[in-house]
């Protein structure tokens, strides 16, 4: 894979034709965000890793159904999210890890306006509130803002229409505010 990185569609096409290297490249490309999507749902590192791996296997077999004119990333992430949800529902009860804010470091010396406005206590309050949300709300907020997916990608990963995703996000934000209010 020298030179300019191949487009997703080209890698997917090659993978469909049996090029294992092309599929490995897609796994490398989207493995990190796939893991995070799975972790947002399972909040268990091992389970998230297993779900993400299994999802990539399922995606491999589903490649012939993938429409090459559509973006690959949300399609992959939807499979990952579904796999993670199935595992989360499967009844295995583990201690779920909570979201944590990273320690403030030197790189915050030149913060963005939002960061500058986000005082340490605010960060703690936001993280605590996120952890207290219902999984469904945490998922939509996590995809949209923590992982930075677009609204369209968030809708696809949730497997709902764009309008539904927007209203679900809006309701989740309302509930986040409600949790913040309780904490005050």
């Amino acid at each position: 894979m020298e030179g300019r990185p191949l487009e997703d569609a080209e890698l997917a096409r090659r993978a469909r034709e049996g090029d294992d290297g092309a599929y490995a490249e897609l796994v490398r490309r989207y493995g990190p965000i796939a893991f995070r999507v799975a972790w947002l749902v399972t909040r268990d590192r091992d389970e998230a890793e297993d779900a993400a791996q299994e999802a990539f296997v399922k995606a491999y077999y589903a490649l012939p159904r993938f429409r090459s004119d559509l973006p690959l990333r949300p399609w992959l992430l939807r499979i990952v999210a579904n796999e993670a949800r199935n595992r989360a529902r499967s009844g295995r009860r583990r201690e779920r890890l909570a979201l944590r804010a990273a320690a403030v470091s030197d790189r915050d010396a030149a913060p963005s306006p939002e960061t500058a406005a986000l005082a340490h206590e605010d960060r703690d309050a936001l993280v605590t509130a996120m952890n207290r949300l219902e999984p469904r709300d945490r998922e939509v907020i996590g995809y949209r803002f923590l992982l930075g997916l677009s609204e369209a990608e968030t809708a696809e990963v949730l497997d709902v229409r764009l309008g539904t995703a927007k209203s679900r996000l809006s309701r989740a934000m309302q509930r986040l505010r409600a949790v913040l209010e309780v904490e005050t």
Partner: protein, 258 residues
């Protein structure tokens, strides 16, 4: 302090969340694990074919199996019937013990049909079912509904080995993999069949069924006789203790099938 957060617009609150800089768990390299899992399964070209081609594969696979069995060669074939994928392979020695399967919530047959998008065809040979369940299953193609009907044994309907029912009919919505059946060469037999002119798959003897349920994946040892056939957009699975010809008669007594 959180008062200020609460007063932010969705856009500003979203921006604040985006700036949170969450401490994610260390991301593993998924590539080796995915490669290992893929190496233990067949290539995708053997799995996802358009339905007509897939059903032709059933016949081809059955014919191939006869050849392979004659030559005592280990077979490892995959047959895709839509919502149900069948793999034929060597027995691992002992079959897993059956586990309790959550079939979903009890429901009446009319509502079950509404949930799945079209009325459920009841086999006239069996009459109204004694039990109906519906389960929502999340697959790679989205959320789909599986409906299960069950009939208690009667004089004409012997009990399925290991079951309190004489017949179980499942209707799977969509073409996503909801069930994965493993038929072992030495404990089960398998062949092609026809239901209402449609190519079908007939299995007898102990085999293993992995079923995606709303609560996760359940693994079941199946000792009954199973008839699988596609009826687009559904896949149907009839389990009984009946011989093949009678099971096909039951299947073909579903209105619109024969």
């Amino acid at each position: 302090m959180t008062e200020r957060l609460r007063d932010l617009s969705d856009e500003r609150l979203g921006a604040a969340l985006a700036e949170l800089d969450v401490e994610w768990p260390r991301e593993p390299d998924l590539t080796p694990g995915v490669s290992a899992r893929l190496a233990s399964t067949p290539s995708p070209s053997a799995i996802r074919l358009p339905l007509r081609r897939r059903t032709r594969v059933v016949l081809l696979a059955a014919a191939t199996l006869l050849l392979l069995a004659g030559a005592a060669v280990a077979a490892k074939l995959v047959i895709d019937l839509g919502a149900v994928v069948v793999r034929v392979s060597e027995s691992p020695g002992t079959l897993p013990s059956p586990s309790q399967v959550h079939m979903g919530e009890p429901i009446d047959v009319v509502r079950a049909g509404t949930l799945q998008g079209s009325p459920i065809g009841i086999p006239e040979a069996l009459g109204p079912p004694d039990r109906v369940w519906a389960d929502r299953v999340t697959t790679d193609a989205g959320e789909v509904v599986r409906v299960t009907l069950a009939w208690r044994p009667t004089d004409e309907l012997p009990p399925i080995p290991g079951s309190r029912f004489g017949a179980v009919l499942m209707r799977f919505e969509g073409s996503a993999n909801i069930a994965f059946k493993v038929v072992y060469n030495d404990t089960g037999t398998h062949s092609s069949a026809f239901v209402g002119g449609r190519e079908a798959f007939w299995t007898t003897g102990s085999h293993r069924l992995q079923l995606l349920t709303g609560e996760g994946v359940a693994t079941v040892r199946v000792d009954g006789n199973v008839l699988l056939w596609p009826d687009e957009p559904y896949t149907l699975r009839l389990e009984t203790a009946l011989p093949e010809a009678e099971a096909i008669q039951v299947a073909e007594s579903i209105p619109g099938t024969s």
